[in-house]
Symmetry: D2
Subunit: 345 residues, 4 copies
């Protein structure tokens, strides 16, 4: 890139949008263009998120604007952080006008339109774009992302499950079936909205599983695993809501395909991830959410349950970083040919 | 009372209403009549509060009903646990039909209608009843409560401030002015509703003061202190929202009127509260919220700041017990001539 | 029983011991004898747990005593709530002196002494008693408990896993192998001690798996499942520490042995548990920890993952109630021939 | 400074030490020299704080060392983050050897040795240094800090109280007496140690006041206020422990000395703090802890309670940033003649 590129955020008043702002405002190689929001349009951004204010005067503070394609097109790349079903309405025009897009929602993560409509419970208005979209998992799709115009940023749960599973499936260390994925998520993963179920008094001092075996991230995990291995991989996935603000914790139970040792597992991770800047794996240490909070790292730990010939993989990430905005910035860095870690360490 | 009296709850789908149900369902001398709710009318009560379910069948489980005066009048006493401004609409007819009422809201706690309208921001439709209502603070109003038809159950913050202050003002140990009341409250005090400000991700890991010096409990504290001492007492009051579910913690800074010792303070509390079943005071121990959670106790501790001639009083209560439903049941016991602690220990 | 029996608690200064005190002090058919503690011996019980204090005077408050067999033998039944390895030192003498015992720790839950020593990392001093001890899971061992002198109260995790699994294994609805048990626990499950890992700042806003595949409750689950079905059942079990005070949440992934419907699963639970006072199962509702907190209920929910032919069972309990003290009181009621729910509703 | 200066941390295994590491490792104008710790000496720093690890290999990861004056003297400036009473033992030699020091503890904050010994409960071994030490509150002591060899970094509570109070006392807007300071603190303020009182199950869902009117920060607040105004200022101060990890929230009740308006208060803050990079004040917005978490900002809000002629000031800061490590780095920047905000935005 010659000049400093300008990027905009659609959905800047949500948690992922705010995290994007936070990361981009400290990024030295891009400039923030427009911040779009809907009900908060017209408000200074710092009124919605006072923590980003840098002094008492707010002199040239950014103002949230109502989205318009023309305003968005003053940027080279547009991040979309909207609820599912909304990105698909604005993406086609932006692509036509030559813009590059990173969609943090679920609209372009699946290839199969009927699976999308089954899990997301609404029709897809641009099914033709599903095959054009590139799944934005840098560790496995870096080259395609570099050239992509439309990047579907992975879901938080899928990122936590795909990264530990893929090397082991690739190397056939674990079996293709019988994989159990038990995930725990902080509340910010559900977005910023006023649902009684998300009120403090309901969430605090409790835990609940939800969308048991029917969560929309299940087909995302399955299809990416199958696409990248070329084999049909099946998984059982149950998400749970935790009384913490941010963080994903995923425990995976994978039947071993061979008589593997811990050293062998470590070697597989080494051969795939040794140069990856945002994956930390360890034979000794079991991940904890607090080790990844406010970072773009995905941590991986593992143990073997010999009595059941089961590999137990544990991963953790910050759902607003590697699970959303951080990974989106990582993708942007790749798309712009920048250092992949810029603005993320 | 000859037969077992029947009591009903208007607003049974809120937190105070649920706590009332919980207490009354274990009370051996009253029978629960109707449970009224608005948007949840028609639903089984256990669908709204599954924790109260007693088995897997829910055979003769209670059902929430839309409020009607006729249905309410099948009970001898009606608890009203509604947002401010709603009780005043149903109380007049119930009183006319000879029913006794305990209102857990703020509609009948103030005597002065213009003060009410200033702080509650809406008109009062039954100002004539303000003087008829008895302020339901058992430790100071027991005889009036016994005969009352309309009891205004005290607010959670006022209960936590009035009980430590009253004996000391009565005995002129502290001055009538310059009293500072700094209160902290768990989230359930705000009731059960879907406000974005009460969402877990907004409340967790934070604290904020709110309605600084303009909270509607300020005039309640002032007027009760003045009424019961016969002098004008002024207080500064700031409430804060805490990331916990239940509990009130109040720190009071009261300029001493005389050169009092800790032993003298203790003696004052002893002379007023030694026989009170729900007040625990201590010269050694500073209260903690966890000591009162799920109990009807108000705990009081105190220290003297000699350099400033200031008495520091600390009190704590469970906002759904002594701060709402527990105190309401205590009032009901008094009104029915029952043992005051029945169903509360 | 003719007269009101007296019971004592060894380890009354821990969380389970305190919960036992709380339950027994409200129990109308037993009398509390001695409260034994070690480092807190000599202190009034209410100094250690101020929340149980009933007034400001503490006149005849109980005092924690150093354990002695003679003092313990003034009671008919002794609850032992000590860390593993300590109960085995005092149980033999108490049994010899004709006392009945409910041990809330792990010393007598396993039948196989070498498995015990492998998982608990110390020798067993009374291996001969392992076969005499009765596993105190009332729903499956009621008759043996009634006559037992030594009841091994089940672990919190095992209770949450055994109760949903046993009926389905009995009826061969699920397979005997490939069962995954993913459990989450509040902090009180680890007992009351000053470990830096349990400090608020370390636990808060985080989650971690621990003792992955090597937790001492794994052989407890396996051996009870195998004993009660007569078949070898294998399970993978991973416990996780949650930032909440109390509660266990267990998600079980069990491969189906047959083409079962949800209705069939419901029917299996009905046939086994319809009369059980402390088990609530539901085809519609997925358990949440807050629905069982401060109750002796175990809640069970379930879903079928058709794509993987997997039954997903979710259970929840309060680790200090059904997971410890509540279940211990339930066992005591059975041993004394009392109503099983007395003091527990 | 010509070359990049090297700085070391004594007490790098505590919370403040870790935060210092985090800030300094991203600071572009200083180099981290040694990390000293006591019981953790010999361990890789990333084993103690895995969240700072930057990849899976930890190749040239720093190792915690046992403190020695010689090793420390390879740096130009030494941060000391030790419990009170320990810094005074190592400071004299370091000063003699020409090193500059920022002490994050309380050993050099008070001028009066007998007040120190009264509140800190141990003798001071270097009373002669008390007058040499510069109180490191940049907004009021910038020039002295620039030239200082020994900077006493302010306490977290005092920072939150002094910054809002000082301008108003300077301008005589508020009275010199009757000031009440009610502070709430997250748990990390107590440092990283294994006290049973700081365990999750004890702190969670509770609040308690502690060291009521006897906290060692009381004389720190009083003496700095008096030193900087030249008048005797008295305050009542009560700290409270909150169930959050980080953050200080201070509510100040200050009797007005004159009939001030909100606009006048705002103007006072403007005239003193308009150019301050880390103070945000607002007439509209009441601070919330979450707005300052992980930032070096101190937020100030205010209201007037007309009925009591009382100014209510609310302030909030992150106890590990502006309340400890952040302010220490700000002081270092001043001492080194760097941009004061470097590494802190």
């Amino acid at each position: 890139m010659e000049a400093t590129p300008t990027v905009s955020i659609v959905g800047a008043s949500g948690y992922s949008g705010a995290e994007l702002y936070s990361l981009l405002s400290r990024h030295s190689s891009v400039r923030i263009g427009k911040l779009f929001a809907n009900t908060s349009a017209g408000k200074p951004f710092f009124d919605v998120f006072p923590r980003f204010s840098v002094n008492s005067k707010h002199s040239d503070a950014p103002v949230l604007e109502q989205y318009s394609p023309d305003a968005a097109c003053s940027s080279e790349l547009i991040f979309i952080a909207l609820p599912s079903g909304e990105a698909m309405r604005i993406v086609p025009e932006l692509l036509q006008r030559g813009k590059r897009i990173i969609d943090l929602g679920g609209d372009f993560r699946l290839k199969n339109v009927s699976v999308y409509e089954h899990y997301y419970k609404h029709q897809h208005s641009s099914p033709a774009l599903l095959n054009q979209a590139v799944y934005g998992l840098p560790e496995w799709n870096r080259e395609a992302i570099r050239k992509a115009n439309l990047v579907a940023n992975p879901g938080c749960y899928p990122t936590s499950a795909l990264l530990p599973l893929l090397p082991l499936l690739k190397e056939k260390v674990i079996r293709d079936d019988g994989i159990v994925i038990n995930s725990l998520s902080g509340v910010s993963g559900a977005g910023r909205s006023a649902s009684p179920e998300m009120s403090f008094a309901e969430v605090n001092e409790s835990v609940k599983a939800y969308k048991v075996a029917v969560h929309q991230h299940t087909p995302e995990i399955r299809s990416v695993l199958s696409d990248l291995t070329g084999r049909k991989i099946s998984v059982s996935f149950v998400p749970h809501l935790l009384p913490i603000t941010r963080g994903i914790y995923t425990s995976i139970y994978a039947p071993l395909a061979q008589d593997a040792s811990l050293e062998h597992i470590l070697e597989v991770f080494r051969s795939h991830y040794d140069l990856e800047p945002f994956i930390r794996f360890s034979q000794e240490r079991i991940p904890e959410i607090k080790h990844v909070t406010n970072t773009n790292f995905l941590d991986i730990g593992f143990r073997i349950d010999r009595e059941n010939n089961m590999l137990i993989l544990i991963s953790s990430l910050d759902n607003l970083f590697k699970g959303a905005a951080g990974q989106a910035v990582q993708n942007m860095n790749i798309m712009f040919g920048l250092n992949e870690t810029e603005g993320l360490l």
